[in-house]
């Protein structure tokens, strides 16, 4: 089967009128008439991801986000760019084809990016979620506790929060990627990927800062764009299998681009000795090391930094799993859902018990 025929089947099964004017959902690289040996689904065609897909023998990449570092995948300014040449030549030399499914994925029911995001932040019952999944009510917790749980279950290294960590929250609204929803009176916490910080269509950061000044319980948790839409590409791959039974299909994660870094926080209460924390911070392998781990980055979104000896890695997913991805990747969320009580949640997450939950435990500001 050719890549073009794969795309035809996707169009047919996606069940929505196809918008041929989409600048995103087209072939980005390679010859559409290439015979497909295997399909890699991914959140974004990073160079690292492209290499890992190739090393795993997957010559068709189906990507949610861009290949050429701009939303429209416009390459008109890039003809002389050395990185553009390197990346395209790598793909073409290895007979790879890249096709993007962005707009139509978000228009689908379910929107797998949202399904995956809800799961990776620990919310149960989002299997049929659409682009606008509505407000979830979870047992009341603090913003700080919620953020800590979300950070553990999503494995987002560069997670960012705004709001009072002590605020009591229960109504949460989730949105994928740049479609981080607006914080409104009806919502306590918005969880999204990323968002323009100010001067945008709406400015959540300033809104939450002012709500905090007024003593209102509001917060924003930003996972990062890659992390927020990563998990759903695993679901998308599972969906592809339902009508492409003969083709190997694997989820090959894009790497979370940001450093793992802890120097500004006192990790001591959480991570053992500060000496250990300092060493863990330096142990991030280089890109070359991550690449050589084949389809690395684990089944945990964004954990390119395999740190097998650190407790982060123990919580997030083992590098061993990552090196040989199964055709049916493991689910990302192993923590209990928010619909269970906090007590049960603590019991199900052994590491949480080891953490001091006394007064020493606090959100680092």
């Amino acid at each position: 089967m050719t890549a073009r025929e794969v795309v035809e089947l996707i169009r047919k099964n996606q069940g929505i009128p196809w918008n041929d004017r989409s600048t995103r959902d087209t072939f980005m690289l390679g010859n559409p008439d290439t015979a497909v040996k295997g399909i890699a689904t991914t959140m974004m065609t990073t160079f690292s991801m492209l290499k890992r897909a190739n090393q795993a023998g997957l010559n068709m990449v189906i990507t949610h986000e861009d290949t050429f570092w701009n939303d429209r995948d416009d390459t008109s300014d890039l003809a002389e760019n050395p990185l553009y040449k390197l990346k395209t030549e790598y793909a073409l030399k290895n007979g790879m084809v890249v096709w993007r499914d962005h707009d139509h994925m978000h228009a689908m029911t379910p929107d797998y990016t949202v399904v995956g995001e809800l799961r990776s932040v620990g919310v149960q019952g989002g299997e049929h979620a659409t682009m606008r999944p509505g407000i979830w009510t979870i047992p009341e917790t603090t913003l700080g506790e919620l953020a800590a749980r979300v950070k553990r279950s999503s494995c987002a290294r560069a997670l960012r929060c705004v709001g009072d960590p002590k605020a009591e929250v229960s109504r949460i609204l989730v949105g994928p990627g740049y479609a981080t929803p607006r914080v409104t009176p009806e919502v306590d916490v918005v969880i999204g990927g990323e968002q323009q910080e100010a001067d945008g269509a709406f400015d959540n950061v300033e809104y939450v800062m002012d709500a905090v000044s007024l003593g209102m319980a509001k917060g924003v948790i930003m996972l990062g764009h890659v992390i927020s839409e990563q998990a759903g590409m695993e679901d998308f791959g599972n969906w592809l299998r339902t009508f492409l039974p003969g083709i190997p299909i694997r989820f090959v994660p894009a790497e979370e681009p940001y450093w793992w870094e802890a120097p500004y926080s006192s990790r001591r209460a959480f991570m053992g000795s500060s000496r250990e924390a300092r060493r863990a911070g330096r142990r991030l392998p280089s890109a070359a090391a991550a690449d050589s781990a084949a389809a690395a980055a684990a089944s945990c979104p964004g954990s390119r930094a395999a740190m097998p000896k650190s407790r982060d890695a123990a919580v997030c997913a083992s590098a061993k799993d990552a090196a040989s991805p199964s055709t049916r990747p493991a689910r990302i969320s192993t923590t209990a859902s928010f619909s269970t009580s906090p007590t049960i949640w603590l019991r199900l997450a052994p590491r949480a018990i080891r953490m001091p939950i006394s007064l020493r435990r606090r959100i680092v500001l």
Partner: protein, 304 residues
């Protein structure tokens, strides 16, 4: 907002009266917010279209000014500090009312999404408006004209805050040659200097030797990055879009390039420039004090 005021100002500029001391800046007349803004406009020059971002956002422009506060973003906390500091004219670089529309069109938004800022009856929006009214504050946005100033204080201010003023390569560019250090050490120093928390994020090679740095306060587009990343060891920008610029930096890292790309946060990157603005105002409007009020890094991260 009062477009009539804008038109009068523009008329005054066009009529050639901009160069003379505007009304209100002589000892006999009260010093109103409007008079100070006219003075600033005359000093900075350029066209001030009523539809542009730089205009009055809240309060009465005819209010008499006790003191001026400059800030990167007029949060409620900043406004409270401004009141405490006995200032009542606030010059803010970013919006006050939670969107690009900045309170001008408080139309009911679609729930959860959509442009136009918060609904008119939104409790946060209302409380902020009431605070401004009750305390007699006047808020003016000063963005386009301040960043267009040829001295480019948004850049030099950030460089000064980083302790790099002496390392500028050429007077007309944002390039700095700093004492060599690893990316990791340079990032640690940036974090400490600007007192940053989770707002600082880095992509690239932590062991790269950093010497040549491009400063880019505010929001950086992909073409700027494509053009300039390869000529420096590090870019320090305010914010970017992760699937665009951060993706590019990650790919260059995979390609083996020894560079690092740092985003410190949009507002944080704009703070030092507005600090310079307060110093500049003291030379332009000598009758009242001007004071910079910090916003700080809005982001934190749980230690889990």
């Amino acid at each position: 907002m009062p477009r009539a005021h804008m038109s009068r100002r523009r008329f005054a500029l066009m009529a050639g009266t901009a160069g003379v001391a505007p009304r209100g800046l002589t000892a006999e007349e009260p010093l109103t917010a409007e008079a100070i803004v006219r003075r600033i406009q005359a000093e900075l020059g350029g066209d001030w279209p009523p539809a542009g971002p730089d205009c009055f956002k809240a309060g009465d422009p005819s209010a008499v000014v006790k003191g001026i506060a400059t800030t990167a973003m007029a949060t409620l906390d900043v406004l409270r500090q401004a009141v405490k500091a006995n200032t009542n004219l606030i010059l803010t670089y970013e919006p006050t009312f939670y969107s690009r529309a900045d309170g001008r069109t408080p139309a009911a938004p679609t729930p959860g999404r959509g442009p136009g800022g918060p609904a008119a009856d939104d409790p946060v929006f209302k409380a902020k408006r009431e605070f401004i009214e009750k305390n007699g504050l006047v808020v003016f946005r000063l963005r386009d004209h301040w960043q267009a100033r040829k001295e480019n204080d948004m850049v030099t201010g950030l460089a000064a805050a980083l302790g790099w003023s002496a390392h500028r390569v050429t007077p007309d560019d944002a390039l700095y040659e700093i004492p060599p250090a690893t990316a990791e050490a340079t990032v640690a120093s940036i974090r400490a200097r600007l007192n940053l928390r989770a707002g600082l994020r880095t992509v690239g090679d932590r062991h790269a030797a950093i010497r040549r740095v491009l400063l880019f306060p505010g929001s950086m587009t992909p073409p700027t990055m494509w053009q300039r990343y390869s000529e420096v060891d590090m870019i320090v920008a305010g914010e970017v879009r992760e699937w665009e610029n951060s993706h590019y930096a990650a790919d260059l890292f995979t390609a083996g390039e020894k560079r690092a790309f740092v985003t410190i946060g949009r507002v944080v990157s704009e703070e030092p420039g507005m600090r310079v603005c307060a110093d500049w105002l003291e030379t332009v409007v000598k009758q009242v004090p001007a004071k910079w009020i910090a916003v700080g890094d809005p982001y934190w991260s749980p230690a889990a």
